[in-house]
Amino acid sequence: MPASTVTIARYVLIETRRSGLPWLAADCVFVALGLAGFLSQVAITEGAALQAAAAAALLRACAIFLVIAYVAASVVREANDKGLELALALPISRPAWYLGKLLGYACAGALLAAFFALPLTLWAAPADLAAWTLAVAAEAAVMAAAALFFASALGQTVSAIAAAAGLYLLARALPAIQAIASGPHAVDSTPGQVARWSIDAIALLLPRLEGAASADWLLYGAPPASALVQALLALAIYFAVLAAAGLFDFSRRNL
């Protein structure tokens, strides 16, 4: 890996530490703990399970949303401030710059996942929590790559956040949509067939997020190592797709 890539990644992490992201992350943890405390008062049974599930689901969503918003805002701001032109005027290649950014944001996502795992130690077994943290870190890395790609290509914060969040929600919902589309009550007409093919085609281009980092893992145990590796491998493949697409787009752009 080029030294310039590592340097840029380090500066991304420094920027992250100095930004409002750590404070927002701390707020999320306080909100999750508050929610868990409230639920412990109203649950008549399975109190610990309810607290763990609610806190894990909330923190996972917060991690993904914070990563998407932070990456999109950071990339667009840097472009608007002409920081990108300044960086590329230095002896740094475009791929090195892009990969450095990607590496930095992915590390920031991993740190966020580790930080969000801390309150969950109150309720979850260490091994299950480790698997959950690893999966959330991988998911955050994929969404950081998506946000970087969209922010770099679209150049607008709101559009980039909407596109990345839409990609995430669609990927999470697609298995259910596919099941419904191919269900026993699906209309067997040409438009119906076209709709099913279209959904299947979209599924080929989306990551598999439905099985990754579920709060179930903290309640009923993490999946077997082989299933965990498979889930992480799928995320790694998609991370590579987004990185390659981003590099391609960035290399073609006239700056």
């Binding site: 269900g183 799928a234 390659a244």
Partner: protein, 245 residues
Amino acid sequence: MTTAWTSRERPVAAVPGWILGLLAASLSIQIAWQATGAEPARDASDLPRAPAAQVLRLAGFGESAALARLAMVWLLAFDSRAGNAIPYQKLDYDRLAAWLDAILAVDPRSNFPLFAAARLYAENDNPAKARRMVELVFARFGEDPNRRWPLLAHVALLAKHRLHDLPLARQYAAALQRQTTDPTIPAWARQMEIFVLEDMNELEAAKVVLGGLLATGKIGDAEERRFLQSRLEEIERRLKAGPKR
């Protein structure tokens, strides 16, 4: 000719070869991975426990009508995940009934849950499961008889022909006749109890019900009144002739 679009992009040749190779390779692996990845086999009986109606309402963020219908679509598609050759046969009907109850509580004006119960889930060869569904339809019929009568009429027929439970069919038919007030409900539905009673050879009861129906003056159509009068006379003739053997 140079367009505004092309002027913003550098040619593909400007992209380093390894990036093109990485894009092609990663995209190919992604598509192959997704295309070959099999869904984990699930048993159709693993329908999750139904949440409380309040939880479902909360999940809808105020869009109860949309949520109820989407939940029904999800529920209908549920067993397709299991590669189940015989739809619904393996589902846990107690859980299914709880789901239908919860969805109906979210949007009581929706016909969808009880329609699915009567027309789909009740068409089960397992009598206990079919009975569970017809009971659900009957239990919720009283909340809105004028809108739900077609479903009760259907489950009354199911009780008669599929479950071969004439007392149950009569109970439903009687409820349909007594609880509905909409004058547009067709005569055949309101008179269903009489036919069930005849099938049960309960001619005295059929005579009372038919006579009562005629006496209420609810039958506005002269032809219908004449037809029912002829049925009443026929029942009286059969009663005079003695019990059928």
